[in-house]
């Protein structure tokens, strides 16, 4: 109990520096803005990684009268969020050099505001805090997608995503209002105490909250916005959406559902399993004939979301562990894939289509090889990071006796191998000339680092699984 302000120091640090960024932006000439703000954001994010590492407690602690609760699960996901944002900043630096905008400063500090929202969202322990942080993150992302000059695709995306996202937020808030009505409190533990059986109001609130979260995650009945938004948004923003928003939404889902709806775990587990399997299949099947790589990766994101959701049907502790591990792998893979696309994108969105990658191997062997690593990791081929993520989820499902779900996930992954192999085929076996714009060193460095991590964590998955186990035990300790 009590305020315990120092627990939230990393979040306050990010927020304060974003506000300082607004003021600095007003007094800088345009030509130094990109360099200055990229350095500024990298510095802030780098410092906050250390702040998060040193301030996350193993024994869960609460702040603001238990509106916020921090444990290692929060700490770990915040590190992951900050790492993905760091890569997003590196990629943005190159992207902003290639594409003109009047809002360079705005781009970087809105990114910092979105990071703040995501960080607060994973540490929220109360319905209103969760909603506000969710909106801070979402609204920042809507703004980010509309900032580029003469980019009507991006502006269309911002409007579409805004409308769809508002519907999702409204649905979530209806669910929260019902939960508050049932329990008379908005703190997770107290709400959880009031919910024991599946009465009609509980069912309604559960359905509304689940639909809202599925909206944000882009799982099947509510996946309509995903391809358009991923395709049309500027690539660094898509990277941010794909990695950070997904991590934040999934971790917030774990932190909301296990304390609040624990007595009904088998009911909503089944729901998530059905939705997960359908999403995994739908995403994989719809990605088969996409020509634009960003659109293809959007469908693959639906498929990956389905796999993660299906994992929630297994035993709670194992489910949290495997979901966390998968999120780690997914964040690294998404960041690498979209960083790679941004690296190849030149004027007029050339380099986003698969056909632009013809014979990439002869132009740049190193880039072609990192393409193989990224896409094979997304497909889940053994020595890479993506394999272990799928492996743990399948083990969790089989151990829980859900062999049918596991087999369905396996079949969907086998289908998805087809479209993950297509870019590789184009890069190595097709005749033609790849369009390769001048390589920006920072984007290149970001891609190299993430590809390196994909290989290293693929060879030594116990590095991540140990960390995930620590996070899991810390989270479970907070539930007792």
């Amino acid at each position: 109990m009590g305020l315990n302000l120092k627990l939230l120091f990393p979040e306050f640090f990010v927020l304060a520096s974003a506000i300082v960024g607004i003021l600095i932006d007003l007094f800088l000439p345009k030509r130094v803005k990109n360099g200055f703000f990229a350095t500024f954001s990298v510095f802030i994010l780098f410092v906050s990684v250390f702040l998060v590492i040193f301030s996350s407690p193993f024994v869960p602690e609460t702040a603001f009268n238990s509106f916020v609760k921090k444990d290692l699960l929060t700490g770990l996901s915040q590190v992951l969020i900050l790492f993905s944002s760091l890569i997003a900043v590196f990629v943005s630096y190159g992207f902003l050099k290639k594409f003109d905008t009047d809002y360079i400063g705005e781009f970087y500090y809105t990114l910092l505001f979105a990071v703040f929202g995501a960080m607060l969202m994973v540490s929220a322990n109360e319905l209103a805090t969760l909603f506000v942080s969710l909106e801070v993150m979402s609204i920042s992302v809507y703004i980010l997608s509309a900032l580029f000059k003469k980019d009507y695709r991006g502006k269309e995306v911002a409007l579409k995503y805004f409308i769809m996202g508002s519907v999702g937020a409204a649905v979530v808030v209806y669910g929260f209002a019902l939960l508050y009505g049932l329990s008379g409190s908005t703190v997770y533990e107290e709400v959880g105490r009031a919910i024991s059986t599946l009465s009609f109001p509980v069912l309604l609130s559960l359905a509304l909250v689940i639909s809202g979260f599925l909206f944000k995650l882009g799982a099947v009945p509510f996946h309509g916005w995903t391809p358009d938004v991923y395709h049309g948004a500027p690539t660094p923003v898509t990277l941010f959406m794909g990695a950070v928003v997904k991590i934040a939404a999934f971790v917030a889902l774990l932190k909301l559902f296990y304390p609040v709806f624990l007595p009904l775990v088998s009911e909503w587990g089944e729901v998530f399993a059905v939705i997960g399997v359908v999403s995994a299949f739908a995403g994989a099947l719809m990605a088969l004939r996409q020509e634009n790589v960003k659109r293809m990766l959007a469908y693959s994101a639906i498929s990956h979301t389905g796999v993660v959701l299906a994992a929630l049907v297994s035993l709670p502790a194992v489910a949290i562990f495997s979901v966390l591990f998968y999120l780690f792998a997914y964040a690294f893979m998404t960041v690498a894939a979209f960083g790679f696309i941004s690296l190849l994108t030149g004027k007029g969105f050339s380099g986003e289509n698969i056909s632009d990658w013809r014979n990439l191997y002869s132009r740049s062997p190193f880039l072609a090889l990192s393409l193989v690593v990224i896409f094979m990791s997304l497909a889940g081929i053994p020595p890479l990071f993506g394999f272990w993520a799928k492996f743990y989820i399948l083990v969790a499902l089989v151990k829980a006796g859900k062999v049918g779900v596991a087999v369905a996930i396996l079949v969907a992954s086998a289908i998805s191998l087809y479209f993950y192999l297509r870019p590789v085929v184009y890069a190595f076996m097709k005749e033609g000339e790849a369009v390769l714009p001048p390589v920006e060193p920072f984007e290149f460095g970001a891609v190299v680092v993430t590809v390196f991590f994909l290989i290293v964590f693929g060879l030594f998955p116990e590095l991540i699984s140990q960390v995930s186990l620590f996070a899991l035990s810390s989270f479970l300790r907070g539930m007792i």
Binding site: I19, I22, L23, L26, L178, G181, L182, G184, P201
Partner: protein
């Protein structure tokens, strides 16, 4: 608990009314209306003035920025009133918080002024 169930029932009734009333009108309209439509009826001005040019051009919308800035200060007062009512109970922490809040809003206002949102041309 009982109060909330009543509220919940009210919510259900309101939802039913909200879904029913507009749609009933739409459905009955479809069957009862007298359909004598001609191209002139779909013109922007039904009174007979022909439109001058196609409505695809851009037009100047400045008032929305002023409205946004107005919203900034409107919200500020919305939050300041409850603070003023509970001023004594909140004590020193309340004053610090309110100054932080106004400070953050002021940053937004400074941004608006420097970007020329209040310049009228």
């Amino acid at each position: 608990m009982k109060v909330y169930i009543v509220l919940f029932l009210f919510f259900l009734v309101a939802l039913a009314v909200a879904l029913l009333v507009p749609n009933v009108n739409l459905i009955t309209n479809r069957f009862l209306r007298i359909d004598r439509s001609n191209p002139e009826k779909f013109e922007p001005y039904e009174c007979g003035i022909p439109k001058i040019k196609p409505l695809t051009g851009h037009y100047f919308a400045f008032f929305y920025i002023v409205a946004l800035i107005f919203l900034l200060f409107d919200l500020e007062t919305v939050f300041l009133f409850p603070w003023a009512v509970a001023f004594r109970e909140l004590g020193v922490l309340g004053i610090v918080e309110v100054f932080l809040f106004v400070g953050i809003l002021l940053v937004g206002f400074v941004y608006a002024i420097f970007k020329g949102a209040l310049k009228w041309e």
